[in-house]
């Protein structure tokens, strides 16, 4: 079996070296300036999934002018672009997939440090931002963790790093029972974290990376000056949207480009509900609440107005979730937390747009269980800004 194993070993090492040299996602080398050029009206910027989108987004902030409006949110925020706003406004969309409060903090802190903090911020509030299980899984922010640490130290927030690398509240003494629970929970999560770590590490020899490295090699030799290729025509694809996970090569698989029929959409929603999702093992994350308070206060103290929007889910998802034990109660707790924080922080408004019908969205305006298509986004923005000073933005 010598030849068999040698072939595999040499093949993996050779492929990894080649991908590292070509570095299609600029993971190991700095991205060139042209990538961050201003977009023309019909262009959009694509982030292939094999990119560390957080690092790219933070780098991007260096190259933009101070925006008028900053958009913070998860992948649900990603399709919100300047087309929804008045033409003369400068919009910066900092939507990041699987975002947690740490991501919002990092982006805000970076913009503040560079003096680019805008006068208005719109935040899409996903309910799972307050689900500790979902937050434990959202580890992407570690790539931009230094901004989070800066933010915490500015606020004298002594978060201590736990085994997961996340910050924990200061000075809370845990009982023996709590400590045991914490350790066992952490142990349960270890294989998942290891698995994610391995998948991430082995992305260097994954097909999307290899394919792009080969493409770039054929086109440009070993030059890395090709990021500009990733700015594409808006008519072909949705703005700042992404391909399916781990599918960086085909940014938009064929199935994503076709409009889904209502029954397909409902099947997709059912699938999301039945498979592990952000609503699983729902526990209210008290620590997230602390971080949320800190962020809102900081934004507010900078003289920036905030509009927080809770966008709708697909109605079938809402219905299915309503059967989950405690879900309705926890959702009310989340909304109450946001509402109460909004009411005590100056210049912060909360718009609950979770009621699909009230907003006026159609099922066909949903991309899947949680993501909105442009039609629904437009309605949500209109619903939340009507009769307020925010309507001037649209």
């Amino acid at each position: 079996m010598k030849i068999f194993w040698t072939t595999i070993l040499i093949g993996i090492l050779g492929t990894a070296t080649f991908v590292f040299i070509m570095d299609p996602g600029y993971r190991w080398h700095d991205a060139p300036v042209p990538f961050f050029r201003d977009l023309k009206e019909d262009e959009i910027r694509i982030f292939p999934t094999n990119f560390d989108e957080r690092s790219i987004k933070v780098s991007h902030i260096n190259f933009i002018e101070k925006p008028d409006v900053l958009l913070l949110g998860s992948s649900r925020m990603a399709p919100v672009s300047s087309i929804f706003f008045k033409k003369d406004l400068k919009i910066f969309n900092a939507g990041l997939s699987s975002a947690s409060f740490e991501d919002y903090i990092a982006i805000w802190q970076d913009m503040k440090q560079l003096g680019k903090n805008p006068k208005k911020v719109i935040i899409f509030m996903d309910p799972w931002l307050f689900n500790s299980t979902a937050n434990n899984k959202a580890t992407g922010w570690h790539f931009i963790g230094k901004y989070v640490e800066n933010f915490y130290s500015d606020h004298g927030y002594k978060g201590q790093e736990d085994s997961k690398g996340g910050f924990k509240g200061s000075g809370t003494k845990l009982s023996l029972k709590e400590r045991t629970l914490k350790i066992s929970r952490s142990a349960m999560k270890t294989p998942e974290r290891l698995s994610r770590g391995f998948d991430l590490a082995f992305q260097i020899v994954s097909w999307p990376m290899v394919k792009q490295a080969v493409k770039i090699f054929i086109k440009n030799g070993i030059s890395r000056d090709r990021m500009i290729n990733l700015i594409i025509n808006r008519t072909d694809f949705g703005p700042e949207d992404r391909g399916v996970a781990k599918d960086g090569a085909t940014l938009y698989p064929l199935s994503e480009r076709r409009a889904k029929t209502p029954s397909e959409l409902r099947a997709l929603v059912m699938d999301t509900f039945l498979n592990p999702n952000a609503f699983d093992e729902w526990h209210f994350d008290q620590e997230a609440k602390v971080k949320f308070d800190l962020l809102l206060n900081d934004i507010s103290q900078s003289g920036t107005e905030v509009l927080m929007i809770a966008p709708p889910l697909h109605p079938l998802m809402t219905e299915l979730l309503s059967h989950k034990i405690n879900y309705v109660g926890l959702l009310n707790e989340v909304n109450e937390t946001i509402r109460s924080q909004a009411s005590k922080t100056p210049a912060v408004v909360f718009c609950d747009a979770e009621n699909f019908e009230k907003v006026g969205c159609q099922e066909s305006e949903m991309k899947d269980a949680t993501h909105l298509l442009e039609g629904c986004i437009s309605k949500v923005l209109r619903y939340c800004t009507q009769n307020t000073s925010w309507s001037k933005l649209l």
Binding site: M1, K2, I3, F4, W5, T6, T7, I8, G11, I12, T15, M188, P191, E192, L194, S195, F198, D199, A201, F202, Q203, V205, S206, W207, P208, V210, A245, K246, D247, P253, L254, S255, R258, K260, T261, S263, E264, A267, M270, L274, N275, P276, D280, H323
Partner: protein
């Protein structure tokens, strides 16, 4: 956790096998069982372990109890058997079929069956319930003695290579081998285990998933199919499901061999079958045998006259189809196979008189038609797909694009492999030439590169 994931290949499996090689006796069996439970708990949601442990515990103790009470045909034995069947089938109904029945009730009577809410489907539930059921039936029939060691029984049910998608392994196939490794320790068959796993990985990642990526968009909306794309999708799906499932089986058998355990063969070049009956001796062999031994024969088999035999066949195939998934289309698929089996039995002498390539071609086409039911979400979709296949809506000549051409190429490649290559599990993997070692090394390397964005196994959903 999937077989085709780096965490499985680089952490889980080496760790479990490495420790297993050093252990002997009951600690070895306990270790494999615990590892299997951990594997299972990461195959989906953690609570999936609970129904499996329930089935394992229930049947272990019921079998013991059954052996202690009375003679073979005693009433108490029957009661225990019924109790076990209710437990197993009840679990299957609860997790797999309750949603379907609730939906159908709503559709038919516009009412709601409160309490019947579709729960998450624990991966492999159909496989392990059938395994424990076969064990219980054999104990009931007096064909085997009840297992005395709970750990060994739990290991038989949960042994991770076969847990999620088979092969459906009988207790008399696995428990004696567990006895052996308990006494002698694990003696891996390195060469055949590794190569068979590599073959399975290659089939899954390089063929099945690539075809799946091209077929899925085509049949997303059946009404948009043309006759030609309909045919292409049909052949493509036939290849996808074969390479996906047989790839998983090869991996499972390979992993078993690395533990020194021989799992039963599940595929024997099914598309080389000369007739529908031959197909079921080659496709998902372990399930076919299960259905024959525990359902068809229990219904009377072919001992009660031709009419009853045909009815038994239809019932067996319909229930076999329903085992695959909670959708009426699976019953449609089973009935379709039941009917072509009956048809074949009726005209066996005529059928067998044709040249074998004609027999093989016709059988392949019939099997492909069956996949229409299997793949379509509803009967209406199946009807549309069939309609497209008949060219009634025109040919649809403008189907040529890079995706359909690639799919066509994959279909041709798949047809060549299934028709002209030897079955992987019957190859001699203990002596592999340098050239073949290199070729399989390259194929495995390619599979590893593609693996990071591979999909789940189709049979995981069953």
């Amino acid at each position: 956790m999937l077989f085709n994931s780096f965490s499985f290949l680089l952490i889980f499996f080496p760790l479990v096998l490495g420790v297993s090689i050093r252990l002997r006796g009951l600690p070895l069996i306990r270790w494999i069982t615990l590892a299997s439970l951990i594997f299972y708990s990461y195959a989906g949601q953690r609570w999936f372990v609970i129904p499996m442990l329930f089935t394992t515990t229930l049947d272990f103790y019921l079998a013991q109890f059954m052996e202690r009470v009375g003679h073979l045909h005693s009433k108490r034995r029957k009661t225990i058997m019924v109790f076990s069947l209710c437990g197993n089938l009840g679990l299957l109904f609860l997790f797999k079929y309750s949603g379907l029945f609730s939906e159908t009730f709503q559709l038919l009577f516009h009412g709601s069956l409160k309490g019947l809410v579709a729960l998450g489907l624990p991966a492999g539930i159909s496989f392990y319930t059938f395994q424990t059921m076969s064990y219980m039936i054999d104990v009931f029939r007096g064909e085997c003695v009840a297992e005395k060691s709970f750990w060994k029984f739990a290991c038989f049910v949960s042994f991770f290579p076969h847990l999620i998608a088979g092969p459906l392994t009988r207790h008399n196939q696995l428990i004696p081998q567990l006895d052996r490794i308990e006494a002698e320790g694990v003696r891996p068959q390195w060469s055949s285990g590794v190569y068979l796993f590599a073959v399975g990985l290659t089939k899954k990642v390089l063929v099945a998933d690539r075809i799946g990526n091209l077929v899925d968009p085509l049949i997303l909306d059946m009404s948009k199919l043309t006759s030609l794309t309909g045919w292409l999708a049909l052949i493509g799906y036939s290849m996808q499901i074969y390479f996906d499932f047989s790839g998983y089986s090869d991996m499972a058998i390979g992993l078993g061999r690395l533990f020194g355990i021989e799992l039963p063969q599940n595929f024997n070049s099914p598309y080389k079958a000369l007739n529908p009956s031959d197909f079921w001796r080659r496709w998902h062999i372990t399930l076919s045998r299960w259905l024959k031994d525990y359902l068809y024969i229990s219904l009377g088999g072919n001992r009660c006259g031709p009419l009853r035999k045909n009815l038994n066949l239809l019932i067996t195939m319909a229930l076999g189809g329903f085992w695959h998934g909670a959708n009426w289309t699976f019953i449609g698929w089973g009935l379709f196979h039941g009917m072509i089996l009956i048809l074949y039995h009726q005209m066996q002498s005529t059928w067998d008189s044709f040249h074998k390539y004609i027999q093989r071609g016709v059988t392949f086409l019939l099997i492909c038609f069956g996949w229409v039911f299997f793949r379509s979400p509803t009967f209406n979709d199946a009807y549309i797909w069939f309609k497209k296949l008949t060219f009634l809506d025109g040919v649809g000549a403008n189907f040529l694009n890079s995706e359909t051409l690639t799919l066509g190429a994959f279909c041709i490649l798949g047809l060549i492999i299934v028709n002209f290559f030897k079955n992987a599990s019957s190859e001699n993997w203990s002596q592999v030439s340098d050239g073949r070692q290199f070729a399989w090394g390259v194929a495995t390397l390619a599979a590893l590169i593609f693996m990071n964005y591979s999909s789940k196994f189709l049979y995981y959903q069953f």
